[in-house]
Symmetry: C2
């Protein structure tokens, strides 16, 4: 999903497309890494200084509620976001512990397991969270040097 299409989608949902929101969307969609609110805030300082951290929080909340962002669950923080490459599609992440780069993939092959758990436990299952952690090719090279 490009920055432009995220912006259009926002507007389609009845929200204003302000320069601040454009800037925040630019930062997110220009990065392969997952970013926390303060990551985004500090990247904004270069190109679009003056935007408040509050606005970053508010915009992230808005984008998340509109389903235009993915959360990444890694390490300590529960608040690291990523552009959604596959809007609406069920998918998962493979995250590099070195640089934060995220690759995503679609088929998680968990249907059988889900069925088994349902029948064994009596739970109804609504969703799952699956993320792989590792090191990307370039970070592996760095380590081995």
């Amino acid at each position: 999903m490009t920055g432009k299409s995220i912006g259009l989608q926002l507007r389609r949902n009845g929200f204003k497309l302000t320069p601040q929101r454009r800037a925040i969307i630019d930062v997110i969609s220009g990065s392969e890494e997952h970013l926390t609110p303060s990551d985004i805030y500090s990247r904004l300082q270069h190109k679009y200084p003056g935007i408040g951290l509050v606005t970053v929080y508010r915009t992230l909340e808005l984008l998340e509620n509109s389903g235009l962002l993915c959360e990444v669950h890694i390490g300590d923080t529960c608040r690291s976001y990523l552009k959604r490459k596959r809007p609406g599609e069920h998918h998962h992440h493979l995250v590099c512990a070195g640089c934060g780069k995220v690759v995503d993939f679609v088929d998680c092959e968990l249907g059988d397991l889900e069925n088994r758990l349902t029948s064994e436990t009596g739970f109804s299952i609504d969703s799952h969270l699956l993320e792989f952690m590792g090191r990307c090719a370039s970070c592996r090279k760095l380590v081995s040097k």
Copy 2:
């Protein structure tokens, strides 16, 4: 893992087994649900008042570092803990969105997927996070009434 064995393990690792730690371990191992630091703190108020929230944080850190607790990744918080039923063993959780109850399971059948991702992306994979979310049998009854 019982509360008693958690305590013994702590002592084996050279830490003191104080009444506060006992109380915190009791609360955690007496619960089927995952608990945040303040959940634990408020449950302590009944039976063992006077224990400070700081001590809860410190004890949780200690238990986590000793591998005696599991983290649960659900909803907003990154800080919800659970007794470790299977010490040391690789396992995953099935969490009830209604009551917070957690069931765990061992075989996640992700080996093939992991191999495929490794060869397709050039990443080396170190670990994964897999959790299922749903509703347990009793919470399902509540909803349907």
